[in-house]
Every structure is written in structure tokens, then in C-alpha cells.
Amino acid sequence: MKKALALSALVSLSLAAAQKTVTLAWSGAITGPTSDAGASYAAGVEDYCKYANAQNMLPGVRLNCVVRDDQYNNANTQRNFEDFVGNLNTPIFLSYSTGSNLQLKGVIEETKVPTLPASYHIGLIDAPNNSYMFLPVSSYSENIVALLEYVAKKDRGAKVALVVNPSPFGRDPVVDARKAADRLGLKIVDVQEVGGNNLDNAAMLRRFESQGVKYVINQNTAGPVANILKDAKRLGLLGKMQFMGAHYTGGEDLTKLAGDAAENFIWATSYYMYDEGDRPGIQLVKKIGAQYGRKADTIRSVHYTSGMLAAAIAVEAMKRAKTDISAAGLYKGLTSMNGSRAFNPGFTVGPVTFSTKDHVGAESLRLLQADKTGNFKAITGGQRSQMFQLVHPLR
């Protein structure tokens, strides 16, 4: 009996020793500005990572799931990155904000650590220093250009206003939007920056009205957009102007804040919605969310799905790296995701494809429209913007 116990202990110890620990780490805004999106995103990363361990997705590898708050502060992100890569030896960096990613681009290039940001800012994969940045889904710029294409099909020559966040996150798509509007025969008559403390938008909306604006396209977060929609409703402008927006403007967050003023808002995103329960990815989101006791609001948030996608891509890259779970191995794993080897975890309208030249994962997007109940329903199928590739060729 004693021998059996000793043998079993020895086997257990050997197995434990054979099991490699790899850190899967994320740094983002769990508190501070944009934490409304970041907290759910963090939960998605953490839960998928734990799920991967529970499912033994990487035999012989135990994932050390680290989710760290950077408060939307670039200096904190940099410290986290240095700790993750320097001390925890993480082979892949799951990052967050536009500003911190832009700041870290050069360092990421030097350290050669593949990075998956929550920011879908096209500038992150523009040269220079763009070899190791991978956008999980279509960029904000492509979202906006796709919305412009939709407007052009319905109402050629229409006057459009852009309302953007006063930050690199908000401003970046403006150049591509202007170029696309020119080609599409649309007129961008005004570009306004609106931040998080916009208590009253009457002046801006009245000016849009006097300029004959029929479409208002937002590149912002849900909070400021909700306030614009509520003011537009109060001023009786909701029927006269069509409000639209890129990925971070919409979803549950918007309808929760804007209430019935969000009705008819048109939103561009690559993700499936919570109420599309027939999608395997959404079934997985619900299953994992329930398994780890997340609140209904968190599970319903598109940002929870987004966090899961980022973690799923990282885990898949590790799977493909097999025995070489290093930054170089994961780079190879990521860039092998194309053709018949595309990765399709089911969270997005199309598969995730990367190569050494293609650094946009799920390139397809859909336009969805908010209905009376506050749910977003698809009004287009999965598509890519045709114009975007002309106004912003990559590589």
C-alpha cells in the first residue's frame, strides 16, 4: 500500500513537472475611462482562459490567466507590458486602448511579441512597426466606410456629419471617411468631436439640421452617443436624421443608456449578438458566462464576446505552435490562420484569418439596426466594404 501511494505521488509530481505554465495576459481599462467596455472585455478574456484550462485545450500546458487593470492610462499599460513580457514571459500580449497600442508599437516591434488589441484602429497595422499587431476584427475605418456605402446606396449625394471622440481612437477614421465619401458622391459637411462629458448636444444638432445633414455617423463610445440620441429625440430630429456608428458605439450598452431614443440606430460590427442563440459562438458565450457566474448584463455585452475572441485566438495560436509556445511560435501559429486553416470560433460573422500580410482577423462585418425592444437586428449579411480597400490599401 505504501509503495502504491509513493508511486502515485511520484507519478503526480512528474506530471505536474511535465506540465508547462504559460501566461496569457491582458492589460486594459477595468476602471477609469471606457471601463464600461473594458470590464466586460476583461471578463471575456479571463473566462475563456479559465475555460481553456478546464477543457484541457492545450494538453501539457496550464494557462496562467492574468487580467490587469491599466485604468486607460498608457504608462500603466507600458508597465504591465514590461511585466508580462519581461517577468511573466508571456508569448502574446492582449492589449486594449488605441493610445497605449500606438505608444507601444515600436516596443512591440522590438520585442517581437504578437499583440491583439481591443482597439480596432487601422493605424495599428499601418507601417511602420506593424509586423506584430493583429486586429481581431475589421477596423473602425472599415466600419465607417461600410456605413457610408450604405448611405450612398440609399441616398446618393446626401449630406453626412461625423461625430468622433476627441482622441486618436475617434479621429483616425476621418481621413478614410472623407476619401470614401468623395468617391461615393456623399458630402461630409461637418466633423465634430464630442467627449464623455457632453451634457447637451442641442447646439451641434441644430447646426447639423441647418446644414441639411441627413446622416450622422459616430465613431465614439456608447455613452456620448446615447446623450446625442436623447437630445435628438427631444428636439424631434430622430426621424429627420439617421444616426449610425462604428463598433464601440452600439450594442446593449447603447440601448441601456439611450432607451427608446436608440431605436433605428444603425451599427456596424463584426460580432454576433447575444440574441443570436443559434450561433455556436454565442452558445459558447452563454455557457462560459453561466459556468463562471457572470451577471446577465456582462454576458449580454458584445465586449464580453470580444474578450473571448481575443483569448480564443491566442489559445488557438498556442495550439498551432505545438511545442514551441514562444512569441515566435505564436507568430507562426497566428499567421497560419488562413485558407482551409482559418480559425472560426463562431463569435464573428466570418472566420478569423491572418497571414504575414493580412493582419485583420474577422474581416466581414454586418450592419445592424436597433428595434423597439432595444435589440440589434442584422439588416445586411456578412460583407466587406469594397471602397475601404481603395481608400486605405494595406501593404
Binding site: 470590464a39 464623455g196 462629458n197
Partner: protein, 298 residues
């Protein structure tokens, strides 16, 4: 419809909320000469207490009143635990305490389910109906209620400081603490009451703001900083100054949004304009429009 009356009216609506938020600064400074940099966090605390109570099924109005009472007590507690020890210390030390306090409250709110995320009050039935039109500008019932509540509280505090014995005592303490103590006034009690009253008005401002534009910690706490130009313009120790400063800043913000945003690429001038006013006021009239003129030559 001409744009100007609409901009003026929108400015008054926002300005009255600014004035209410600024009142907390004034109440504390008026009695203790302390500038409370944690005021935005107290505004957020009040709003989230009310929101949490409504989430548990409590009536909105009752939840708002309980939140005001809670922040009244919180203000008193903050004064008792942190500020009372700072009496006689250099002003920079006191300011650092309030800055530290803002981080502590911020962190504590993040430990609650409301630290991250966007939330909105379920609008009470009486406020969700059709609004009214004033000079061709539609105003929602929420906005009207917000303005009335803000003006009501501001009026009550103006009366309190000018007519009530306690209000006059608080002014006396602010004028000369040593003289007030020599006639038997409890300076400590006055300080505690000022912090408590500031807490009460902060919750009122937070609930109104939450009702009008949703609840996010960043947005609510940010108001504390945003109303700083209001108190400087009006005068740090003047309730009337808070009202006039709030209205002026609200109107100037809207006028800049209405007329300057069209010619400034990217617009967003309303975010900057109050701080331009702040700099101008500090250069020309550092004690504000209604503040006590104190000249020190060294």
C-alpha cells in the same frame, strides 16, 4: 427658429446643474477655506447610492432622498476622520488630503458593481411624458425637474446663509475662526455641517445628472473638475456666485458650441471654453464676480 434663444435656454438648463454641483465647493470653502477636490467622487457616490436603491425596487424619489441623507452623513464622516486633523496645517497639505480622498473614494466605488459600466435610471412616470416648448426649444420633463430642483436647493441655501442663525454663524466662522471661537461658536460643528451640506447637494446634483445623461463613474466624477471654472468665476465663497457662475459658464459653453464649433476644425470648443474663462478670470479678477476680495501683499 433662431439659434440664439435655444442656445441660451440650453445653457441655463446645464448651468443650473453646474451651479448645484458647484454649491458643494462653495459650502466647504465658505466655512473652512478648504477646496475639496473629492467633490466629483461624492457626486458619483450619491448618484450610485440612489441607483443601487432603485435597482432593489425602491421608489426613485425615496431613493434620491436616502442618497442625499447618506452623502450628508458621508460628508460629516469625512470631515470628522480626515479634515479635522488638518486644522492649522498648510493649505497645500489639506488640498493633498482631498486629492487623496478622491482616489480612495474612486477606488471604493470600483469595489461596488457600479465602478465600471454605464447605467441609467428608470425614468419615473411623471418625468417621462411630453415636455414643454419654451421659445421654440423643446425641454424634457427631466430637464425641467432638474432645473427646478437645482434652483430650489440653491434658493434654500441662499436663504439659509443670509437669514438663519446657523447660516450666519457659518459665515462668521469663515470670516474669522479665532473670533468665532472666542464668542463660544463651535468651529468643529460648523465645519462638519458644511461638509455634510456639501454632501447633500452633491447627491442631488448626481441624481439629476444621472437622470439626464446616465451614470458612469468617470462622467459623474468628472463634473467635479468641470465646475471648477464655475466656482472661480462666481467666487469661491459665494452661493450667489455659484448660481451666476453656473449660468454664465453653461450659456458660454453653449454659445461656443453653437457659433465657434462651426468655424473651429473638429469643434468641441465647449470643452475648452470654461477653462479659457477660468484663466481670464484669474488674471483679471482672481476672487471672482462675487467672491470676497482679499488682498495680500508680501
Amino acid at each position: 427658429m433662431d439659434l440664439l434663444p435655444q442656445l441660451l435656454l440650453a445653457g441655463i438648463v446645464i448651468g443650473s446643474i453646474y451651479a448645484l454641483a458647484a454649491l458643494g465647493f462653495v459650502l466647504i470653502y465658505k466655512s473652512s477655506r478648504v477646496i475639496n477636490f473629492a467633490h466629483g467622487q461624492i457626486i458619483a457616490t450619491g448618484a450610485f447610492i440612489a441607483f443601487a436603491l432603485t435597482q432593489r425596487g425602491l421608489n426613485f424619489w425615496l431613493a434620491g432622498l436616502i442618497a442625499m441623507l447618506a452623502t450628508f452623513l458621508l460628508g460629516m464622516l469625512i470631515e470628522r476622520v480626515f479634515l479635522r486633523r488638518m486644522v492649522g496645517e498648510p493649505i497645500i497639505a489639506v488640498i493633498m488630503v482631498t486629492i487623496g480622498l478622491s482616489s480612495v473614494i474612486d477606488g471604493l466605488i470600483h469595489l461596488t458593481p457600479y465602478g465600471a459600466g454605464s447605467f441609467s435610471f428608470q425614468t419615473p412616470a411623471v418625468l417621462s411624458g411630453q415636455g414643454i416648448e419654451v421659445f421654440g426649444t423643446p425641454l424634457s420633463r427631466t430637464q425641467i425637474a432638474g432645473v427646478l430642483a437645482a434652483l430650489g436647493l440653491l434658493g434654500a441655501f441662499t436663504y439659509f446663509f443670509n437669514k438663519s442663525t446657523l447660516g450666519i454663524t457659518m459665515r462668521a466662522v469663515a470670516d474669522d475662526q479665532m473670533a468665532a471661537m472666542s464668542v463660544g461658536t463651535s468651529v468643529e460643528r460648523v465645519f462638519a455641517l458644511a461638509w455634510a451640506a456639501a454632501g447633500l447637494t452633491a447627491a442631488a446634483a448626481g441624481v439629476i445628472l444621472g437622470l439626464m445623461s446616465g451614470l458612469t463613474l468617470g462622467g459623474l466624477a468628472g463634473i467635479g473638475l468641470k465646475v471648477f471654472p464655475v466656482v472661480i468665476l462666481g467666487g469661491l465663497d459665494s452661493v450667489i456666485g455659484a448660481i451666476v457662475g453656473g449660468m454664465l459658464i453653461g450659456i458660454l459653453e453653449n454659445l461656443s458650441a453653437g457659433y465657434l464649433d462651426a468655424i473651429v476644425p473638429g469643434g468641441g470648443t465647449r470643452e475648452v471654453f470654461p477653462f479659457i474663462v477660468l484663466i481670464a478670470v484669474l488674471l483679471i479678477r482672481p476672487y471672482g464676480l462675487f467672491g470676497t476680495k482679499e488682498i495680500e501683499r508680501v
